[in-house]
Symmetry: C2
DNA sequence: CCAAAAGTGTTTCCTGTACACCCATGA
DNA sequence: TCATGGGTGTACAGGAAACACTTTTGG
């Protein structure tokens, strides 16, 4: 019984949420598109393993966030002998265009090609996790450049969530939570004119839960 | 390389959040307490496996909820050759007292005995998951009897969350979300008198996200 | 001066919290 | 009728959404 690690590496490219896939050159599932990853080695844990394996496809320094998604373990999920997969979500900021091998390409998540095995499900799980965490964490830092304007950030959130987010409220919500910081600098306006936008950055570039209690908050002034 | 499944099975007993553990009768970690589970067989997926293995410890019909937590894969997490573990959260309603084997016992999560391997971490992960989901899902159904009074439910939520929850607001929040239903019936008052409490039930006994968007809701009237 | 884009002020709504008050029972 | 626990009504606060309005640029 084998164990593999797989990652849905997501990035906003051309205003759409895209995932990194490579095209199989062998049976089974010849020519279908599949997730980067590979076999878990004996001396590494799953996170070390997926980072090592991703390094072969993407410059690993560009990976701003990696987290476990779930185990996929249907006995027939791949033909032949049984392989359990631990799936990951990986994120790359929108201002990088990592070199990728020739057999590898970015695909819009809402227009996936024919994928191998159960990789389609895994990509959708990665998207769901990202969407959920955009609401209650600062995970946006992993999709955005180091510094950005509110409109750029709005486009990133809109693409990831799949619906339009208003710039006004985006800024206000993130500012109230202390997630965003103004840099004090601005950037020249575009060709159509307009007021030159201010540059912002994320206060922290580590994942933090910013809205921990949806309800049933502990009484104010107590410790969890 | 082996694969095992382990479950943190939680129940509110005597007003405290408790976890089901069994005491090892062999080295390594002789006499330490460990989580129920065992080796993943070749023809089952991880969820089937954990349910099968739990059936040996608890009447499986009493398990109202089972969900994946995470993979624990440190190469040295157990001595000897390498075993990857998929951990689960399991829940048992407070009105059942399942028969358990002689080596098995319930332990308060906040006063764990010496546990084997990395099982301590897994128990804490199970508690965190439960606490988080109590806020934004109807997962309370899995801790509560089929019908219950608001005070009973308040005690369950307080024990699971680790702080006092007000009955007034608990009822209001769950009612507003459509999670609770009055049965119309009441129950005799206790020995100290008092108004006889009304009986409620959960509208659904399947896990449902009741508060999906912390923020960045899609514009009202759109589809995700 | 006008169009365009960015950013701010203001209003409204909703949800959850806090707390006072009313209700129904046993002794 | 009083103590006790259950339940409701009401006021308050915070956060987010909607939208009008102001600011700052390019042409």
């Amino acid at each position: 019984m084998g164990h593999e690690v797989l990652a849905g590496v997501l990035q906003i490219r051309d205003g759409r949420l895209q995932v990194l896939l490579w095209q199989r050159a062998r049976e089974p599932h010849l020519h279908r598109w599949s997730l980067p990853g590979g076999r878990l080695a004996a001396t590494e844990d799953v996170e070390t393993s997926i980072r090592r394996q991703l390094a072969e496809k993407v410059d690993v320094h560009k990976l701003t966030h990696v987290e476990q998604l779930a185990v996929f373990s249907d006995p027939d999920r791949v033909p032949g002998h049984r392989v359990v997969a631990t799936a990951f979500l990986g994120l790359v900021p929108s201002d990088t265009d990592p070199e990728v091998p020739a057999d590898t390409r970015w695909h819009a998540v809402d227009e996936l090609p024919e994928t191998a095995f159960d990789h389609h499900r895994i990509v959708l799980a990665a998207r769901e996790r990202l969407r959920a965490k955009l609401s209650y964490t600062n995970i946006g830092f992993a999709l955005a450049p180091a510094e950005f304007t509110i409109s750029e950030l709005r486009r990133l959130y809109s693409a990831a969530l799949g619906y339009q987010v208003a710039a006004t409220n985006l800024q206000r919500v993130l500012a109230r939570r202390g997630v965003l910081q103004p840099t004090g600098r601005t950037v020249p306006a575009g060709p159509a004119g307009g007021r030159p936008p201010a540059l912002f950055r994320f206060t922290s570039r580590d994942l933090q839960v910013t809205d921990p209690f949806a309800v049933f908050r502990p009484p104010s002034g107590s410790v969890g």
